[in-house]
Point group: C2
Chain length 218, copies 2
Amino acid sequence: MVNKKCIIRLLRYKNALHRLNSLGFVKVFSDNLADAVGVTASQVRKDFSLFGICGNKRGGYQIEALLGKLNHILGKNEQQKVVIVGGGNIGAALMKYKGFEKEGVKIAACFDIDPAKYNHKEGDIPVLPLEQLRDFVRQNHIKIGVIAVPDIAAQQVLDLMLAAGIKGVLNFAPIRLRAASDCVINNVNLVLELETVIYFIINGLEKSIAEIHEEQKS
Amino acid sequence: MVNKKCIIRLLRYKNALHRLNSLGFVKVFSDNLADAVGVTASQVRKDFSLFGICGNKRGGYQIEALLGKLNHILGKNEQQKVVIVGGGNIGAALMKYKGFEKEGVKIAACFDIDPAKYNHKEGDIPVLPLEQLRDFVRQNHIKIGVIAVPDIAAQQVLDLMLAAGIKGVLNFAPIRLRAASDCVINNVNLVLELETVIYFIINGLEKSIAEIHEEQKS
DNA sequence: TTTTTATAGTGAAAAAAATCACAAAATGGC
DNA sequence: GCCATTTTGTGATTTTTTTCACTATAAAAA
Ligand SMILES: NC(=O)c1ccc[n+]([C@@H]2O[C@H](COP(=O)([O-])OP(=O)(O)OC[C@H]3O[C@@H](n4cnc5c(N)ncnc54)[C@H](O)[C@@H]3O)[C@@H](O)[C@H]2O)c1
Ligand SMILES: NC(=O)c1ccc[n+]([C@@H]2O[C@H](COP(=O)([O-])OP(=O)(O)OC[C@H]3O[C@@H](n4cnc5c(N)ncnc54)[C@H](O)[C@@H]3O)[C@@H](O)[C@H]2O)c1
């Protein structure tokens, strides 16, 4: 009932509300949010209904109250700590990106097997030996990890992460990971994302499709 | 009818077939492919049926013939050229990654406004001034672009791309792009991808969910 | 105060996607 | 060559997701 697409929509509503809030708006209607996020007003109301979120008939939603509820549902009230394993191209890009911290996601540390990648510079995100992953994750009660190692190492890194207590993983390696214990794995395969665009273009489907986030017509 | 999810599955079948082929296998059954990709055998057959792909009753599919058909549908017979705009963290990571070329996707050039990013070194992917985007895209008949510039510049870069003749875009900037002309936009929002994992973990949904590729139950 | 109007909330309907289930066909064994 | 078995291809069914449509209600207007 609550699937990834739905959560992504909630996150988008939250972002749109945040913008509206900082522009000084106090209330919002389902169709304003719908416009901002690119869905229908029904979809917005249905999503809220699913999470027991109520507004005021004819009065819309109070932005602050709504933000509060969404932030609670989405775990945005406390900062979430994550670790990255693999400080190469992707791992380094993620570490340099400020957008995670802005959204309350703290990259607590990165782990690598290559000593050349280690980094203890004050102010930077620490890059530590992989051997320290387990203790670090346990001591900092970290539940989320990012896999940014070469494909052949990804399964082994997942196993280490799960053994250390990590429950959710964002995986950039283009392989199918096998998980023994209960966990959530979200795969991001950038090659497939690009190949999908290529498919739609070489098949001349750009005329019927404007945006393919999940699937949307123009 | 044919949506992004379906194309991603086709691409996965293709990759699985490629592996099987190089292991020396000659034929494959729908349930082998299903296992390899993590879907049901019905789904595999339905997808093929949608594209008019036939196998042999009781004989499965000839891997080579099947690969040929999928490659044709997916445009894998000719190399596809793409350009990147924005040679920063993400752009540079993509340029260094060998996985695109392996899949027949050639990053022909990158464009930036920062002269410090320019690169004409032989063997590297050229990083050129943004002003050259239009001519380069036209001369090389490029139809696909990647947006890896800061959020504020993304819309303006999209407009430039479309004006130059680009039809399909992979966009890493976490904003909603507006496109006048017919084009395909595939948004990759890494922050949302990570936040989705966080949602499922803090709500203790890892017990019921193993993998959140597209859809998940609570 | 009463009326008008706009919008939330939600069950019903529709659309889309996935799965089922089974006839048809091909293979291999005997 | 015939039979038993396996697997495809696809219409039917089910499940999931989205949209519709209408009621209740709160705000504004009269
Ligand atoms: N770079 C990209 O643009 C890109 C695009 C798509 C997919 N990917 C995928 O992302 C992953 C990372 O790619 P990348 O380009 O950053 O690779 P990379 O080679 O630049 O970096 C990998 C890092 O992981 C480290 N590493 C290797 N084995 C390890 C292990 N067992 N434990 C800990 N660290 C280990 C290496 O030392 C290196 O620092 C790969 O699976 C790749 O397929 C990358
Ligand atoms: N780095 C990440 O891990 C990450 C994660 C999620 C999203 N993103 C998004 O990806 C995009 C790029 O991120 P980044 O970290 O690579 O940024 P970055 O600042 O490292 O790189 C941006 C590059 O774009 C160039 N640029 C700026 N304006 C330009 C213009 N008008 N035309 C051409 N080039 C221009 C800059 O010179 C720079 O080289 C951003 O929108 C960001 O929000 C990045």
